[in-house]
C-alpha cells in the first residue's frame, strides 16, 4: 500500500458540467436554426457557417500559439462564436468578409481582452457590428428567398412576388407599411440573416438549453416582454397582435434574446441584474426599431447592454444570507 495519496483542500467532489459541455450544448441548440437556414437559403449558408467557425477557431489557435498561451479551442467557445456570427450574416455575404468578421470577433473582441470570460461584449455581435460598419451594403443585401414551401404548393404566391421585388426582410416591409404573414415568420419562410429567420427552430434550441439548465429564461423573457410592452405603448399600432408578433418573430429578436443576450460572459451574474438587463435590452430594441433608421436593432441593443453590465452588477449585488438588513459598504 503506497502511503502517498492525493491531498487537496475540500471539496473533493465535482459536478460533471464543464465549460466544454456547456459550449457544446449551446452549439447543439443552434443546430435547428442553422439547419433551417440551410434549408431556407441553400447550401451557401452552410459554407458561410463553415468559414466563420473555421476562422474563429483558427484565429484563437494561432493567437494562443503565437502568444505561447494554453490552447483553449477545445472549450467550444470559438465554435459558438463562429456559429452565432454566421447566423447574423445574410447568405450572400462574400466569404472573405465573413472570414474577416470572424477574425475581428475573436482577435479584437475576445483574445486581446484576455480571452474567454474577459471580453466585455459578445464577440459574435462585435464581429457583426464591425462588418456593418465596414461593409454595410453587403450586410443589408438580402437576396430573394428561394421559396420551398410555396413551391411545393405549386405556383407563385403574393409572398414570392413581394420578395422578388423588394428582397426585403419582414421588418423592413412592416416599416414600409406592408403586411406580413405571421405563420411564415414563425416557421421561417422569410428573408433575413441565416440563423434568425425561423422563430420555431430557435425556440426548439432554446428549449433544449433550458432543459439542460444551460440558460435560464430570466433574460429572454424580460427582454421580450419589455419589448412587447414598449411596442404596445410606442409602436404606433397599439394592441395590434399581428404587428406585435411580427416584431417578436422578426429581426433577430428571438436569436438575440435566447442565444446572445444570455451569453454568460457579457450578461449580469446577479438575478436582479439579469432582470434589469432584459428590460434595458427590450426598451432599447424598441427605441431602435420605432425611432431608429434601421428596422432591426437587436444586436446594437445587446452590445449597448453588454457595456453597462458591470454597472448593473454593481447596483444589484445580492445581500448575503443573514445580512439582509445591512447596507453594502462602499
Amino acid at each position: 500500500m503506497s502511503d502517498m495519496y492525493n491531498v487537496s483542500a475540500s471539496p473533493h467532489a465535482r459536478s460533471k458540467v464543464t465549460t466544454q459541455r456547456i459550449m457544446f450544448d449551446v452549439a447543439l441548440a443552434l443546430v435547428p436554426a442553422g439547419a433551417f437556414g440551410i434549408y431556407n437559403f441553400g447550401l451557401r449558408a452552410l459554407v458561410v457557417m463553415l468559414v466563420c467557425v473555421g476562422a474563429c477557431v483558427l484565429t484563437e489557435f494561432v493567437y494562443e500559439k503565437l502568444m505561447k498561451k494554453t490552447v483553449t479551442i477545445m472549450d467550444g467557445s470559438a465554435l459558438v462564436t463562429g456559429l452565432l456570427l454566421a447566423y447574423n450574416l445574410p447568405v450572400s455575404m462574400p466569404l472573405w468578409m465573413a472570414f474577416l468578421g470572424s477574425v475581428f470577433a475573436i482577435l479584437i473582441v475576445k483574445m486581446v481582452f484576455g480571452g474567454l470570460g474577459q471580453n466585455f461584449m459578445n464577440p459574435a455581435l462585435g464581429g457583426r457590428a464591425f462588418l456593418v460598419a465596414s461593409f454595410g451594403s453587403y450586410m443589408n443585401n438580402f437576396e430573394p428567398v428561394k421559396k420551398v414551401a410555396t413551391d411545393v404548393a405549386g405556383g407563385a404566391t403574393p409572398w414570392d412576388a413581394v420578395d422578388a421585388v423588394s428582397s426585403a426582410t419582414p421588418l423592413a416591409m412592416l416599416k414600409n407599411g406592408e403586411t406580413v404573414d405571421i405563420l411564415d415568420m414563425f416557421i421561417g419562410n422569410i428573408n433575413g440573416t441565416i440563423g434568425e429567420v425561423s422563430a420555431l427552430a430557435i425556440l426548439v434550441g432554446a428549449a433544449y438549453l433550458v432543459i439542460r439548465k444551460v440558460i435560464s429564461l430570466r433574460i429572454p423573457l424580460t427582454y421580450i416582454l419589455s419589448f412587447v410592452v414598449f411596442m404596445i405603448l410606442f409602436g404606433g399600432k397599439g394592441l395590434d397582435v399581428n404587428f406585435l408578433l411580427a416584431h417578436v418573430c422578426g429581426g433577430g429578436l428571438m436569436l438575440g434574446a435566447f442565444f446572445m443576450a444570455t451569453d454568460y460572459v457579457t450578461s449580469p451574474i446577479t438575478v436582479g441584474g439579469q432582470v434589469i438587463f432584459g428590460i434595458f435590452l427590450g426598451v432599447l430594441t424598441g427605441i431602435f426599431r420605432v425611432f431608429g433608421g434601421s428596422s432591426e436593432g437587436v444586436s446594437y441593443a445587446i452590445l449597448m447592454g453588454n457595456l453597462i453590465v458591470p454597472l448593473i452588477e454593481k447596483i444589484t449585488l445580492p445581500k448575503a444570507f443573514g445580512r439582509e438588513g445591512r447596507k453594502h459598504e462602499k
Binding site: N6, S10, S15
Partner: protein, 438 residues
Amino acid sequence: MGSATFKGGIHPYDGKELSMDRPIRTLLPKDEVVFLMSQHIGAPATPTVAVNDKVLVGQIIGAATGFISANVVSSVSGTVKAIEPRQAVNGDKVNAIIVTNDHEYTTVEDFGKKRDYTRLSKEQIRNIIKDAGIVGMGGAGFPTHVKMTPKDDDKIEYVIVNGAECEPYLTSDYRMMMEEPERIVNGLKIILSLFTRAKGVIAIEDNKPEAIEKLSKMVRNNPSIEVCPLKTKYPQGGERSLIYAVTGRKVNSSMLPADVGCVVSNIDTTISIGMAVSESTPLIRRIVTVTGDAIAEPCNYNVRIGMSYREVLEAAGGLTGPVEKIISGGPMMGMALFSLDVPVAKTSSALLCLKEDEATKPESACIRCGRCATVCPGHIIPQKAADAAMHDDLEGFIKYDGLECCECGCCTYVCPAGRNLTQALKQMRKKALASRKK
C-alpha cells in the same frame, strides 16, 4: 407537509447506498492508541498523566485548558508510552498521549453506572458533559459544554438535533437513528432539561424515510419533541441552513445559533450527551462510516477514539485496488489524508477511499455562468469574493461578503471551469478573521 429547506445548495452523488444498510460493528484497537490533545476548536487539552502511568477506560488524560477547550478521555486501559507530537487529520503535528493498550478495558470506578438525569441539576449536567470531553461530532468540534451554556437559558426556543446527514457517503448518523433511536431521544430530553422553554426538533433529510418514521413514532406522545423532515439537499445540515429550514431564522457569520434562540446538536453528539449523563460513559467512541468505491466492504463502525485509521481500514477488508484519494469525512468538507497513520478523533465521521480524484481537474477561465451564486447557501457571489481572495484583496473580499462563506464547497462543486473557489475563500477567511482579531 412539504419538507423544510433553504435557498441554494446542490445534489451531488450521495453514495449512501454503499453503507446505509450495514449495521454498526464494534472495532477495538490494537496495541498503540493515540489521543490527540486537540480534537476540538479552542485551546488544546493539557496532559494530566505522565509516561509510564497506568490509565483506565474513562479516565481523563487531557484536561481542558480554559473555557473553550475540552477534556480528552482514554478509551482503553494500559500504560502511557509517550507524550509527543503526532500527525492529525489536517496534517498538523499535535501534542498527543500514546497509550499501550493492555486489551483488558479495565474501567474507572462507576463507569457505566446508570443515572437519572431528572434528579440532576443543570449545573451537574453541564459538568458531566464537560468532564466527558464531548465536542460537536459533526465535524467542527466545538466544545459541547460551551454550546450548552448560552447567556440566558430561557432565550433558547429550539433544540435542534441535526440528523440531516447531507454530506455524501456518510451513513453513521443514519445507522444510529435506525439502531439506537431511544438514545437520541434520551440525549435530546437531557438537553431540553437545560432549556425548559425550548422545543426539541429532530431534523432529518427526507431521503431517510425509515429514520423519520422510526423517530416520529418514538416521540409521538411527547409534546415537546417533534420530527422535522428536511428536503434532501447539500448543505442542508449546515448549521445556518438547518436553523433557517427549521425555524425560518437567519444566522450570519458573526452570530451564534443562540442569538436566534437555537441550540443545534449533531446525532452522535446527542447520543454522547445521553451516554455521559445517563450511563456515566464519557466520550470514548464514535461511529465512523468506512466507504468509497475503493473499499472492499463498506460498513459503519463503532470505533474507540485514538484507534489508527489504518487499523479501521484493515477491518473493512482493506482496499480493492489502487486508490487516489483518502478522505477523513465526506467528499464535500472532509480532509484529504496523505497517510493512514492518523488516529480517529472525536470529529472523524468517515473514512472515504476513492479510486478517482475528481478534484484534480485543471482550472480554466471563469465564464461568469453564475452557477456558484445560484448554489451558494450564503447568498454571496463566490466568483467575485474568490476573485478578490485570489488577488489578496481584503477590502474587496469583505465587500463581496466573503466572510459569510460557510466553506460548504458548493461553488467549487458546480464550477464548470473547475475553479477552486471554496479553497480561495477559505484561505482568505482565515486571513481576514486573523486580522480582525488584531
